[in-house]
């Protein structure tokens, strides 16, 4: 009887503690999503929005208009960019995380922090710094000119697809490094030793022990990079050129700014949301599947 009361009371208290968080989520996440959803079905009028249900906004996104190509192509282009960024951040983060985890003994924390600290610097500043490095008069070009490798500054370093990818890779690598490193860190050292004892060389140990166990972290990191770069409008706008500065997020931003077509922007937003939710579901399942490879919790091995 006393046990039951205690359980009931702690559940009540738990509810009380969770309530602010739940209310916050509902007010600032769930309700805005519903608002966005309703907006996507309304009509845009000259500087007002008419609450008339229609599917024209979605239709507009998927059809070619007389003034240009179908807007959904920009989404495909953005997905392409996101793939590039995901690949390059993973290619950078995984070796780095591996190095810090397995090859560094004394300065592990410091090196890890060195990668994370740039996150504390404003996004715009980090993107801007690439203008200084990649510009016509920038550090990279000056260096190449000084070495004599080129005669005139290379122009495609900046205001091109290349600069957008470089900038985004730099900005999102910390986000990718964190889950990858965490996954690698949780691999118990004695598993690796066991693999060596059983006669595995470094490559086999890596392929059959380290990599499979790190895979969930890699999937998480890759998902972060992909989703974040899908929604990025600042890097394309700052570092992109005439043909590389408009990604899907820029189009949405314009609808809520200068183009002043909130229903259309909301519709694109919902399309992106559905896409991302689907993606998260897929990667979530993949991650759970690969997590099953860990048959024992690291804790019990210690």
């Amino acid at each position: 009887m006393r046990q039951g009361n205690r359980k009931g009371r702690s559940r009540f208290v738990l509810l009380g503690i969770l309530a602010p968080a739940v209310i916050w989520l509902v007010l600032f996440l769930i309700l805005p999503y519903f608002n966005l959803f309703s907006f996507s079905f309304w009509k845009n009028d000259v500087f007002t929005v008419r609450h008339e249900f229609n599917l024209l906004n979605y239709a507009k996104f998927f059809t070619e208009s007389q003034t240009g190509a179908a807007p959904y192509l920009v989404l495909l282009d953005t997905l392409k960019l996101a793939c590039w960024v995901t690949v390059s951040t993973l290619l950078l983060s995984f070796p780095l995380a591996y190095f810090i985890r397995f090859k560094v003994t004394r300065y592990k924390q410091a090196l890890y922090m060195l990668v994370i600290i740039p996150l504390w610097v404003s996004y715009i500043m980090r993107a801007y710094s690439w203008k200084i490095i990649l510009g016509t008069n920038g550090i990279l070009n000056s260096f190449l000119l000084w070495l004599g490798i080129v005669d005139t500054p290379v122009s495609f370093f900046l205001y091109s697809d290349v600069s957008v990818i470089i900038g985004m890779t730099h900005i999102y690598t910390p986000f990718v490094l964190m889950p990858v490193y965490t996954a690698l860190e949780q691999i118990p050292q004695n598993l690796i030793e066991a693999s060596n004892d059983l006669g595995g060389n470094r490559l086999r140990t890596f392929l059959h022990v380290v990599f499979p166990l790190a895979l969930p972290g890699i999937i998480t990191g890759g998902t972060y990079a992909f989703v974040l770069s899908m929604g990025d409008f600042l890097a394309p706008s700052l570092l992109g050129g005439p043909t590389s500065s408009t990604k899907i997020a820029n189009i949405v931003q314009q609808q809520f700014g200068t183009s002043n077509n909130w229903p259309y922007g909301a519709a694109i937003g919902i399309v992106i949301l559905v896409l991302v939710l689907g993606l998260l579901e897929v990667t979530g399942r993949l991650e759970r599947h690969f997590s099953k490879l860990e048959s024992t919790s690291p804790r019990t091995l210690r």
Binding site: I17, P20, T67, N137, Y159, T243, S259
Partner: protein, 347 residues
């Protein structure tokens, strides 16, 4: 277990209290001696129009703070006013593109010119029809100027003669363009649309717009970057990313100060111009303070200070006495007519 719960409750409570405390308490007590003491005047203006060299004087005189947001295009300006309204902004400085619309759709307040004694010093040719409605003044002219073709004096031996130089493949990849509707006007002028009637530029037919669009798409391969703000085009010129672009006197001053050699010209097809004016946003709680600021900045000294920062032309000829001979020449203050008639002002 109970201890954990209590400490968790304490954390949540402290967090909520500090959040709420942070949100409130922006009201400052007003001093009886100066009714504006402690107020904040919010301005939504083009770059260069809120330089501390003059806003600080006003702030000090009335004990107020001036909060500034910059706009980078007329669309940007409209979007921001729509989003913020009179609660976010008191003063806004649109040009002719948006001003008529803002006035007509009731988004601005009528201005009481009795609070603006310096109003009478404004050159009459700058009091345009879209500043008045039903006998009331809605816009007070502030500065005006041209949309120059700015080029790098180190690259061009002599001034380009036509806007078509922007499409010249010699300068491919080194051209800058503003990300704005006014690019259509440039093409319109190249097509000669405003030779007989200036307003034809602002009332282009579907066919003309289609031609303009096609021409502008060709520019994509030449443009290095479509810049959004004056600050950006300043950087582009200063870093030698571009050698030619449409731009304003503000850019020339800012970049040449860094040791570069920018020059400007008005091509033979002509160019457009703009008149920026002060408007007070509907619902502003600081209308009287806003009027005082407007009076301050269209006074002779305020105008000269603004001209010094932007190199734009003034609306108050009396400001000449506060300008250096160079600045007087740059702003055409003694020969307003000669510049004025060369420009096709935005409508």
């Amino acid at each position: 277990m109970t201890k954990k719960i209590w400490s968790a409750i304490a954390v949540v409570t402290i967090t909520s209290i500090s959040l709420l405390a942070g949100c409130s308490g922006k009201e400052e007590k007003k001093d009886a001696a100066n009714e504006f003491q402690g107020s904040t005047l919010s301005m939504l203006v083009w770059e260069g129009y809120a330089d501390p060299s003059f806003t600080a004087l006003f702030e000090k005189q009335y004990g107020v703070k001036i909060k500034v947001s910059y706009v980078t295009s007329d669309d940007d300006l409209l979007a921001k006013i729509k989003a913020g309204g009179g609660e976010a902004y008191d003063i806004v400085t649109p040009n002719g593109t948006m001003a008529g619309f803002l006035m007509g759709s009731g988004m601005t307040e009528p201005i009481d010119t009795s609070l603006i004694p310096n109003f009478k010093d404004i050159s009459s040719r700058l009091i345009l029809p879209d500043m008045k409605k039903d006998g009331k003044i809605y816009g007070v002219p502030y500065m005006w100027g041209p949309n120059y073709l700015i080029y790098d004096g180190d690259v061009f031996a002599e001034a380009p003669k036509s806007w078509s130089v922007l499409w010249d493949s010699t300068y491919k990849g080194k051209v800058g363009m503003w990300d704005d509707i006014s690019n259509i006007y440039i093409v319109g002028e190249m097509m000669g649309l405003d030779k007989k009637d200036p307003s034809a530029l602002y009332n282009m037919t579907e066919e003309q717009l289609g031609m303009a669009r096609k021409k502008l798409m060709e520019l994509n391969s030449s443009v290095r970057k479509y810049w959004v703000s004056a600050g950006e085009v300043n950087d582009l010129f200063a870093n030698k990313e571009i050698v030619i672009s449409m731009g304003w006197p503000l850019t020339i001053r800012a970049v040449n100060e860094k040791g570069r050699n920018l020059k400007w010209t008005i091509p033979e097809e002509g160019t457009t111009g703009w008149v920026d004016r002060f408007m007070i946003v509907k619902g502003s709680k600081n209308q009287k303070l806003a009027s005082l600021y407007i009076n301050f900045i269209i006074g002779a000294e305020g105008q000269a200070l603004t001209a010094k920062v932007t190199n734009y032309s003034v609306v108050n000829p009396k400001s000449a006495e506060f300008m250096t001979p160079e600045l007087q020449k740059m702003t055409y203050v003694h020969e307003m007519d000669s510049l004025f008639v060369k420009l096709n002002f935005w409508q």
